[in-house]
């Protein structure tokens, strides 16, 4: 196959597919093993300094915010980060924990550009490699398929390609030009789901974003769940298991874990708190005060929820959830 052009962005990491096969053979128990643990233990055991980290879905929707806050509390730095970014990647960057970023979209959606990202990039503190949304999801998919790359038709002809680590290739069958996306295997994936059992069999209500692909592309996978259900519940609807137990390393019970983002059908986003964050994020001192007060200043997720207004606030947000 002919390589026609190459993006000049650094390829943050490329794992050999056979090394990944060896890894799962050695490290992943294939039997049903209970994996429920505290957020502190899960982050301490599986997230390490300098690791390649991904978070799904994204900051304002079904996001493992409680796990992200625990990464900040434990101050695990020099991270290489991949994925969507709203509140989650913003918080990690604001806390100074990120060196490199496989970026696709990072902003505040309706509320505009992220001043945290601006400060990090414009000062040269964080290095970015450009990708499209689908490209990142397909890079996870390539890793999930046990392949080193996947050919697609996005990114061609653009600076997004030129500042990525993709390559242009010629199709060996048709001769047409394609964009070869390098597989992205994460050291650690963090995913928040509606429910799972103690072994890590997960169900998601609503869209699944890129959970299926990222979960399978993660060497170590920490799942947080609104609810931990009996295994028998999972067995009643096995077709609903979007993340199977054998790829999961840790299960953390985190009711309200996506807060201040929403959890489809479960609770609406805490708009007031999101605005508070966006306001404080405008300058470096403000965001540091936020991190100090709301993240380092709370000892765990339960205390964060209490500070937001506890069960009463959660009940209000549950009442505002999108109904089926």
């Amino acid at each position: 196959m002919t390589e026609l052009a190459s993006g000049k962005g650094p390829l943050i990491r490329m794992e050999k597919v056979d090394a990944l096969r060896d890894y799962v053979r050695e490290h992943k128990p294939k039997g049903l093993v209970p994996k429920v643990m505290s957020e502190q233990e899960a982050i301490r055991r599986f997230v390490t300094e300098g690791c390649y980290l991904g978070v799904e879905l994204y900051g304002s929707v079904r996001c493992p915010m409680s796990l992200v806050r625990e990464v900040v509390r434990q101050g695990i730095g020099k991270l290489e980060l991949a994925g969507q970014g709203v509140l989650e990647n913003d918080l990690l960057i604001a806390a100074g924990l990120v060196d490199k970023l496989d970026i696709t979209y990072h902003g505040y959606e309706v509320f505009g550009i992220s001043p945290v990202l601006r400060r990090a990039c414009e000062s040269g503190r964080v290095q970015t490699v450009e990708w499209s949304n689908a490209a990142l999801a397909w890079r996870f998919k390539a890793a999930a398929m046990g392949l080193p790359f996947l050919p697609v038709r996005s990114m061609l002809g653009t600076d997004t390609f030129r500042y990525s680590a993709a390559k242009e290739i010629e199709c060996p069958f048709t001769g047409q030009k394609l964009c070869a996306l390098p597989a992205l295997a994460l050291d650690v994936g963090l995913i928040h789901v509606h429910r799972c059992d103690e072994y890590g069999n997960c169900q998601i209500d609503g869209i699944s974003g890129f959970a299926a692909e990222m979960a399978r592309a993660s060497k170590r996978l920490i799942v947080s769940a609104e609810e931990i259900v009996p295994h028998a519940e999972i067995q009643r609807y096995p077709e609903r298991t979007v993340i199977p137990y054998f790829i999961v390393d840790a299960v953390v019970h985190a009711p309200g874990g996506s807060l201040p983002g929403e959890m489809p059908y479960a609770y609406w986003r805490d708009e007031a708190h999101m605005k508070l964050y966006f306001d404080m994020a405008k300058d470096a001192d403000g965001v540091e005060r936020y991190v100090e007060e709301w993240v380092r200043g709370t000892k765990d997720h339960a205390e964060f929820v209490d500070k937001l207004g506890g069960e009463a606030r959660l009940a209000e947000l549950r009442a505002q959830a999108t109904k089926r």
């Binding site: 959606e109 999801a137 653009t158 869209i207 974003g209 986003r269 999108t322």
Partner: protein
């Protein structure tokens, strides 16, 4: 005639571009409102598609996020980003709405940086789904406020492919044949692209705007359609729907 602001004008003009029964990629902001308006007026069968997997929601309540629950409220399909983007790659998605900080005469868009990539003067959010939408949909519609800093001869960073550098360039780059930019909706006009040279062409003026004014706010020479039209202003009914039903809290307008 009712008073209206620039956001409302953009939303109404964008809504009128949406086709009943077509699948259309919708992004945050103006496209969401435009889709909600189109569904309540001429295009009840519009299938709004949101990149993380929401396909065909009711849009009774305005989504605040492209992955949020309102993007699949009472949808026939709540799927995933790969599923939807792969459908676009197979040719199912007719329209895609895009925005950005800059657009050039070939409809190329910048949503990434101003200045050097590695040490930018301004860092924007990045491609997100825009590059995929601009690559894989049949027709893209950009929504932009007019201004010389936004309508530029050459984008600082080419995030999303328009016609690249002219006729045949998309196909040469490997992008799907027959796809590309279709319209630009701005607060000063409605623009399309010349079939021969692929450069932006003014099709219609927004109410009360002159050709000279549009050209003065555009950083390159505009081609002008022989039968230059004037867009009708937002109707009372469109404004009522927008203000009372679609965005009663004025989150966007």
């Amino acid at each position: 005639m009712a008073d209206y602001n620039k956001s409302e004008l953009l939303i109404c003009t964008a809504a009128r571009q949406m086709e009943d029964g077509a699948i259309c990629f919708i992004g945050t902001g103006v496209p969401m409102l435009a889709a909600a308006l189109a569904k309540r007026t001429h295009a009840p069968g519009l299938v709004a598609a949101f990149e993380f997997g929401g396909i065909g929601p009711s849009l009774e309540k305005l989504p605040l996020a492209v992955g949020g629950s309102r993007t699949f409220h009472r949808s026939p399909v709540a799927s995933s980003i790969c599923d939807l983007m792969e459908a676009a790659a197979r040719g199912y998605v007719e329209y895609g709405f895009l925005g950005g900080a800059q657009i050039d005469p070939y409809g190329n868009l910048n949503a990434t940086v101003i200045g050097e990539h590695d040490r930018p003067k301004v860092r924007f959010p990045g491609s997100g789904g825009a590059n995929d939408i601009g690559s894989l949909c049949w027709k893209t519609i950009a929504i932009m406020r007019h201004g010389k800093q936004r309508f530029v001869p050459k984008v600082d960073f080419l995030t999303t492919a328009g016609y690249l550098d002219g006729p045949g360039a998309r196909e040469r780059a490997g992008l799907p044949a027959g796809s590309g930019p279709y319209r630009v909706v701005s607060d000063m006009g409605l623009l399309g692209y010349d079939a021969e040279n692929c450069r932006m062409k003014l099709l219609a003026l927004q109410p009360g705007v002159s050709l000279e004014q549009v050209q003065a706010e555009t950083g390159f020479e505009l081609q002008v359609a022989d039968d230059l039209q004037e867009n009708p202003p937002p109707s009372d009914e469109e404004l009522r729907l927008l203000r009372e039903e679609i965005d009663p809290d004025h989150l966007y307008t």
